[in-house]
């Protein structure tokens, strides 16, 4: 890293700083490595070993290149909030933030008051540019957040319980009184999904193009929106619930039930992947961290618990006190909790998964918060409440650098069309939804226990016998120590040591003869005895 010049070496970067730079780069490189290096020691095939070694080296190089690009080439920097002196971050109000921040950003702070049309729920597209808003009394609207303009609003004159965007801003689904409907950006009704019934919550799985819904009776349904096929329709058996969230990391749908249970589902099986008792009371809200490791659940017994999904222990990592009618994680890992008319933001700043109070915002008393949702790629939190919706600034919550090919807030219509085609080509089949998505492409280990060979069994028996023979029996007194009795005792000990092995052998022989019997029973019996032949159960 130094530069040699004529007349001695002059280092441009001093040694200490070089170390710091390489440490920092190492940390970044780890993020891009996607797991530990493979251990190639056990491979006997030299050709394969050579090929894999070359590949591992290439992975290291690409992670290094990505780390360098991240360090030097990213255009934007993230937001932050730093206090001085005795100030604490949670004491800072939105007004003081508005004063310090530029005009464009302060436009993102607003309250829209629409008292007649009921509690509002909202949804953002994955790029964060468009927002769909649904009022309980039937008010549906799409807004462009960049220009702060209303694209279209319609009044469906029916109860609307939930709104969800499909793959882009052109389509959104509204869970209305009897069935969910899919609408166009212009407000035209495209589809009425009768099979779903009266839906309470809708969620869209982006990579799979699946619309998941849970209805009044607790039935979970998955529908493929590209061809309209119903992939799965399952009765959860756990009653009515309106807490449903998709884990973005693996595409698993989690439901929170009134018994305090959390169940996780995938579209290809009628039994849940996972069922855990998380809370003592009913679950009121749930949220998933975008990296797939953390799950936050809130119960009506005034507790919020944070669970580690990789380890799945019985105890949560952290328990926080408080009510929450809604929870949401931001892209950078901040947790927003809304209850009554107060929103609390918690952040994990020490990196040890210990969430502490970061910011708070109190709305006018009487505004009941229904939903909080972070806006992707912006430091903005959208709040849907009983009197309309609001938006506040939370510095440090959004990811500052977007990837054009993942989600682009500045998308043109041409780019949107291309992206739609590419994402349809990359549509994942519903079978790829699993709890651990990195399992795909790995080799399944053998489940069956290997049968111990005859020699091994004999060796075991001999070892047990040796052990028994080596034991010295207790020396008895008062005339009880006769040699005949001692010999008898020794015989008994040997027999009792041998017994389990012999029983095992007998059982196996019995099974073998039974199998032989079954096979031989295929032999035709005389007609008089047909009624006694064991019939196979009809398949």
């Amino acid at each position: 890293m130094g530069v040699k010049q004529d007349g001695g070496t002059i280092d441009i970067v001093p040694a200490m700083e070089q170390e710091k730079i390489s440490d920092e780069l190492d940390k970044r490189v780890k993020k891009f490595l996607r797991g530990a290096e493979a251990n190639l020691e056990g491979l006997k095939d030299k050709k394969l070993k050579g090929q894999l070694a070359v590949r591992e080296e290439l992975y290291g190089k690409s992670a290094h290149a990505a780390a360098k690009a991240e360090k030097w080439l990213l255009p934007s920097e993230g937001g932050y909030l730093e206090t001085e002196g005795i100030e604490k971050t949670w004491m800072i109000k939105q007004e003081s933030i508005a004063r310090e921040v530029d005009i464009l950003s302060s436009r993102s702070q607003y309250d829209i008051v629409l008292p007649d049309l009921g509690p509002y729920t909202l949804d953002f597209t994955s790029s964060g540019r468009y927002m769909a808003v649904g009022g309980r009394k039937g008010h549906l609207a799409i807004l462009d957040m960049k220009n702060m303009s209303l694209i279209r609003e319609i009044q469906v004159r029916e109860t609307v319980r939930d709104v969800a965007f499909l793959h882009n801003e052109l389509f959104f689904a509204a869970a209305q009184k009897k069935y969910p409907y899919i609408y166009n950006r212009d407000g035209t009704e495209l589809h009425c999904l009768k099979e779903h019934g009266a839906v309470l919550r809708l969620q869209f799985l982006k990579n799979h193009f699946l619309l998941a819904s849970v209805n009044k009776f607790g039935h979970l349904r998955y529908q493929d929106v590209t061809m309209g096929r119903m992939i799965g329709s399952y009765r959860t058996g756990l009653g009515r619930t309106d807490v449903m969230q998709v884990n973005p990391y693996n595409g698993v749908v989690a439901l929170g039930h009134s018994g305090g249970k959390v169940s996780m589902w995938k579209p290809t099986s009628s039994a849940p992947l996972l069922q855990r008792l998380c809370h003592k009371g009913p679950i009121s809200a749930m949220a998933f961290h975008p990296n797939g490791h953390l799950m936050a659940t809130a119960g009506k017994e005034k507790k919020i618990m944070l669970w580690d999904l990789r380890k799945l222990q019985d105890e949560p990592i952290q328990t926080l006190p408080g009510h929450a009618s809604t929870l949401d994680f931001s892209q950078k890992g901040l947790l927003a909790r809304g209850c009554n008319s107060y929103v609390q933001i918690l952040g994990d700043f020490s990196g040890s998964q210990n969430y502490e109070n970061y910011m708070g915002h109190g709305m006018i008393k009487g505004y009941q918060i229904g939903k909080v949702l972070f806006r992707p790629y912006e430091d903005v939190l959208g709040i849907g409440h009983s009197m309309g919706w609001s938006s506040i600034l939370i510095p440090g919550s959004g990811e500052p650098n977007f990837d054009t090919w993942v989600a682009n807030p500045f998308e043109t219509s041409k780019q949107r069309r291309e992206k739609e085609v590419h994402s349809l080509l990359d549509k994942l089949p519903p079978e790829t939804i699993m709890l651990n998505p990195t399992e795909l492409g790995t080799v399944k280990t053998q489940r069956r226990k290997e049968k111990r060979t005859k020699e091994e069994k004999e060796a075991e028996m001999e070892a047990a016998l040796e052990a028994v023979k080596g034991i010295e029996p207790k020396k008895k007194t008062k005339g009880r120590n006769k040699p005949s009795k001692r010999a008898k005792k020794k015989q008994e000990m040997i027999v009792s040591a041998k017994r389990p092995f012999l029983e095992q052998q007998k059982k196996e022989e019995e099974q073998a003869t039974r199998k032989k019997q079954k096979v031989s029973e295929q032999v035709e019996q005389p007609t008089a005895l047909q009624r006694f032949v064991r019939k196979k159960a009809a398949t």
């Binding site: 921040v101 982006k206 959004g398 977007f402 990837d403």
Partner: protein, 451 residues
Amino acid sequence: MKVKVISRSADEFTKERSQDLQRVFRNFDPSIRTQEKAVEYVRAQNAAKLDKIFARPFVGAMEGHIDSISCMAKNPNHLTGIFSGSMDGEIRLWNLASRRTVCRFPGHKGAVQGLTVSTDGHVLVSCGTDSTIRLWGVPVSNLLEEDVSSDKSAEPRETYVWKNAFRSVDHQWNSDRFATGGAGVDIWNHNRSAPEQSYQWGTDTVVSVRFNPGEPDILATSASDRSIALYDLRMGKPTSKFIMRTRTNSICWNPMEPINFTAANEDSNCYSFDCRKFGEATCVHMDHVSAVMDIDYSPTGREFVTGSYDRTVMIFPYNAGHKREIYHTKRMQRVFCVKYSCDGSYVISGSDDTNLRLWKSKASEQLGVLLPREQKKHEYHEAVKNRYKHLPEVKRIVRHRHLPKPIYKAGKQIREQNESQRKKHEKRKAHSAPGSIVQEPLRKRKIIKVE
């Protein structure tokens, strides 16, 4: 209090004028893209399927000969020209781009058994069963013109008559000398009518002769006593020889690793050897079901093409035991000679049905000039397919080749035979004293003796 909020100015992220390019911003953070492995897997499946959809390897046939084609020759200085000689003595020069004859070289009275071009591309040497060697001048300027009539014919510059019929000929790099194989190995010069040197090792005919491209004085030959021999012209004597179980029909040196050569054998396998170690083969390439007649390496040295008596043309990677690709047509009969084109994109096969056929070496390759974005897309497809090609769904699509029924059945039979031999051997081993029955690896088994 210090506050900063994400604020993006639209100028940086959108284009100013309509003729500007759209800027693309990348963030490689894995946390913003979910389920990467599943997406890659779906892309691998799609790439494999697209590959199969675009697989159209046959480019065209060159007809004109009236008897089966026995040999071909190419010259690296002229990419579009190829010489072919047939069993009735006619030699033609073809332009591959237009697939038409540029020039004919009539004169041989019997079958033309060997063709080779000098290094500068001006002289064509041919030998045949009529015991003559003829030297022809190649009309170089005509090759470059595309639409040229096929009626031109040339007269031989020289005709040398000798005592025995010739089976093969090869030219030395950057020199005036060429070697022929017949009764023995003879080294000739362009200007002499008798061979400069003659070698005889054993009494059998020498079937094929090849000069080493890296070391021009080394020569590999194969004879009908099932042997492969190495000659060194500087030392003036044959160097080494080993005998195999079956005869080698043709040899080709690897142009990128000139110490290795591959021999196309009668027992439907190809064997790769290191010329320093004659005791064992470095690799056995097995997939043909009948004798392999000819073999030629790609200029990259990474794969070679073989033509076989079983009416197929196969392309093998240089170090793999099984084929990468197989080409067959109902109209193509026994393939007697194959050549890899000098730019590595095409494969030419000459067969019993009097046609030369031009095939693409990568069946689904898009020909012509590709834009850099297209090229990157193709590379990505290749890479993602290679990453997941061991998974059953993708493997099924990638491996699938339609085979003609006789070849499919013959292949199955061969596999069954090999399997039964293997089982028998395992049982013999299991029922005898440990260490008493030892089987040599296949690479060594086929070599009987090293001299």
